[in-house]
């Protein structure tokens, strides 16, 4: 008998608490006049223009004030006409749209800055075909003062990027792919695969500079302290790339229908041939797109290469011998340590040009991944 009474006393109290917790107050909603939010928006835009043009405030400040006016205006207008609940709804909508616009602004500003500052130099064939070998501050001074042609380019950095990223991909793709195969096809839910999954998560969180320090320490122990070369950089990038490859590939292998595996095994096909001839081809487009994204992630890495590869101004195509250059590193050094501190502009121009090349690479790889996933997806006819 005591249980029902307890329920009775606790039941309504809990409901009451929920109302307060979740902020839903059952109050009536009245219809608002049509286009009310548009009218408020018009008023806010007008106020913004007034602030900027008539009162001479800066554009940024005017837009911020105009947006705040809109948020407050929408709240007040709907509160007066439709009630508090609708007012909250419209205010939150305004805030959520605002958050979206706020996040787009830096991206547009960034892309605009990159293209504006480096676009022209990046398309200059000389920049793409020359190294910095022998280029000094004297050349930069001549470029600024006498209008001499700009000398020095990023050829060595482009080659270095391709070599280092290529070796990193050669290490990471097989290791990552086979790990994913182990996790999906062999390990299942056993202790080792659970541990590996956990460790891959941990590895995803390794800061890029720590990966660089690891490669530097490893090569220091193996080949003598202070060994810096392209292979060390590739090892550092692999530490960052392997977990991405594993995660993406695991996801793709997992969505291959089990019926396909069972059909192949039932025909007496050995397990490894089932994986190689049935599972992998089915998942191929997803795997390729995941690997492309993994390459895009590491191609712009600077910190690990700064630590593990070092820096040079000449072309070095031997990854096992001495420092190399790389586009991201090239941009960093040109930007922070101009050749001629008195005439910084040419160096900064080169840095932005390298940034343009990097951003183009990243966008192209991202688009490529999307296209691969879209056009080479397995046909799901049956």
């Amino acid at each position: 008998m005591s249980t029902p009474t307890q329920e009775r006393t606790t039941g309504p109290r809990m409901d009451h608490e929920l109302d307060h917790l979740r902020g839903v107050v059952p109050s009536p909603v009245r219809p608002a006049p049509p286009h009310l939010s548009l009218m408020v928006l018009g008023g806010a835009v007008l106020a913004t223009l007034l602030l900027h043009l008539a009162l001479g405030r800066s554009l940024v400040l005017s837009v911020v004030i105009g947006y705040l006016l809109y948020v407050v205006g929408v709240n007040v207008a709907y509160r007066l006409t439709a009630g508090a609940r609708v007012a909250t709804d419209h205010t939150m909508r305004a805030l959520i749209y605002g958050a979206f616009v706020l996040a787009i602004i830096p991206l547009i500003s960034l892309l605009w800055t990159v293209v504006e500052n480096g676009g022209a130099t990046a398309l200059n064939p000389d920049f793409l075909q020359q190294t910095m070998n022998g280029v000094t501050g004297v050349h930069d001074k001549a470029y600024v003062e006498d209008g001499a042609p700009m000398v020095g380019g990023a050829y060595h950095a482009i080659i270095g990027t391709l070599i280092i990223t290529g070796i990193a991909a050669l290490i990471s793709i097989p290791v990552g792919l086979f790990t994913a195969i182990y996790l999906v096809e062999y390990g299942g839910l056993n202790r080792l695969s659970r541990a590996i999954r956990f460790l891959v998560d941990v590895m995803t969180g390794i800061p890029s500079i720590v990966a660089g320090l690891f490669a530097f320490a490893l090569f220091g122990v193996l080949f003598g302290v202070g060994t810096k070369n392209g292979v060390a950089g590739a090892v550092a990038l692999s530490v960052l790339m392997i977990p991405t490859v594993v995660r993406n590939s695991e996801e793709m292998l997992r969505i291959v229908p089990n019926e396909l595996r069972e059909a192949a095994l039932a025909l007496g096909v050995p397990k490894w041939r089932t994986i190689a001839k049935v599972v992998l081809p089915t998942a191929a487009s997803g795997l390729a797109s995941g690997i492309t994204l993994a390459i895009a992630r590491v191609i712009g890495e600077t910190a690990p290469l700064l630590v593990a590869v070092g820096f040079t101004r000449v072309l070095n195509v031997n990854p096992a011998d001495g420092p190399m250059n790389n586009l991201a590193l090239y941009a960093y050094y040109m930007f922070t340590r101009p050749l001629n501190p008195g005439y910084r502009d040419p160096s900064i121009e080169r840095a932005w040009a390298a940034a343009v090349l990097l951003v183009i690479c990243v966008i192209a790889l991202n688009l490529l991944a999307r296209l691969i996933a879209k056009f080479f997806a397995p046909k799901t006819g049956s």
Binding site: R22, V24, V29, R85, D89, I96, Y97, A99, F100, A103, L107, S109, L110, T113, N117, V175, L177, F178, T179, Y182, L183, Y186, G187, L192, A195, I196, L199, V200, M203, G205, I206, P207, I209, V210, L213, A217, L218, G226, V239, I242, V246, P270, K271, W272, I299, G300, T302, A303, L306, V307, F311, A331, Y332, F335, T336, A355, L358, V359, V362, I363
Partner: protein, 312 residues
């Protein structure tokens, strides 16, 4: 007859086993390699950092031992990352809600692509943008903070270049937006359809539906995503190295000063040698431990959510 029957499976038997053994052995070895690499990261960093702990405290930069060398770095790193997290999280949740519940499917996908692009822009480019474009834009804002909130120690003395810890933190916020957004979006999309429709059927407005059905369901995921973002901000190097003009620790966020562990390593590593090298590697080890702890907490929270959502 009987000989050929018994021989046939024998011949194909070993052949099949060799292929399988090689293949499963390779995949198992790759999986174990991951274990070895992680152990290697910890071991090699510790080995190279050891001289710092065995040598006299007077030899360490600053002359007062490793701890007093590293704590300002840790403080700078943590402060910048926490500011970045606090600024980025509400905006990221807003974008995630916009994509999952406000925008149409098509627009949502496009925005997803744009957010992915933001994630893929190299950090050195963010750093160059932050120093050349963003920092000068913030100088008047810092002046305003100094004039109006100058009584707080954080806003004591505005910098003329804008190359301060607050600038770096705001750029970090932009950089960790994508990861928080994508994790949050993923959990918001998974909200049980029935919960949403029940809320709407009871007469809830869209925001009330989000508040009562989507957010309670997604909160652990958002917290997990936020922690992942924090982990990324802690380890971010180049943007901070370019933007921040380094100096000793200060509570003043809008003036010159402060360092973070990654930027300290990046700025000093190329010229370092001997004990200085060990110091920087030891600082890297501290950073590794810090990010490891943050990521483990994040994973724990996210995993707890997946158990919870399985019950729904």
């Amino acid at each position: 007859m009987s000989e050929t029957i018994t021989r046939a499976p024998r011949r194909s038997g070993p052949a099949r086993r060799v292929g399988d053994v090689v293949f499963s052995g390779t995949s198992r070895a790759s999986a174990l390699l991951i274990l070895v690499i992680l152990a290697g990261v910890a071991i090699f960093l510790t080995v190279e950092a050891l001289p710092v702990f065995t040598s006299g405290s007077a030899d360490i930069t600053g002359g007062e031992g490793f701890f007093s060398y590293v704590w300002p770095l840790v403080a700078g790193t943590v402060i910048a990352s926490i500011i970045a997290m606090v600024v980025a999280t509400p905006i990221a949740v807003g974008i995630a809600l916009f994509v999952s519940h406000y925008a149409s499917r098509r627009i949502g996908q496009t925005i997803g692509f744009v957010v992915d692009l933001l994630a893929a822009v190299p950090s050195v480019v963010f750093g160059m943008w932050g120093m050349q474009v963003f920092a000068p834009k913030l100088v008047p804002f810092f002046g305003w903070l100094e004039d109006n909130l100058g009584f707080l120690p954080f806003f004591a003395d505005g910098s003329a270049t804008g190359r301060t810890l607050l600038t770096a933190a705001l750029v970090l916020a932009v950089m960790i937006l994508p990861i928080i957004t994508s994790v949050s979006r993923e959990v918001f999309v998974q909200t049980p359809r029935l919960h949403e429709e029940a809320a709407l059927a009871l007469g809830a407005t869209k925001w009330e539906m989000i508040r009562t059905a989507v957010i309670p369901f997604g909160t652990p995921g958002v917290i997990g995503g936020t922690m992942l973002g924090l982990g990324r901000a802690l380890g971010e190097t180049m943007a901070v190295a370019i933007i921040l003009s380094p100096g000793p620790f200060t509570w003043n966020l809008i003036g010159t000063g402060n360092k973070t562990i990654p930027s300290e390593i990046a700025l000093n590593f190329p010229e370092a040698a001997g004990l200085r090298l060990s110091e920087l590697i030891a600082a890297g080890l501290v950073l590794f431990a810090l990010t490891l702890a943050v990521n483990l907490i994040a994973r724990w929270i996210v995993d707890r959510r997946s158990e919870f959502s399985g019950a729904n």
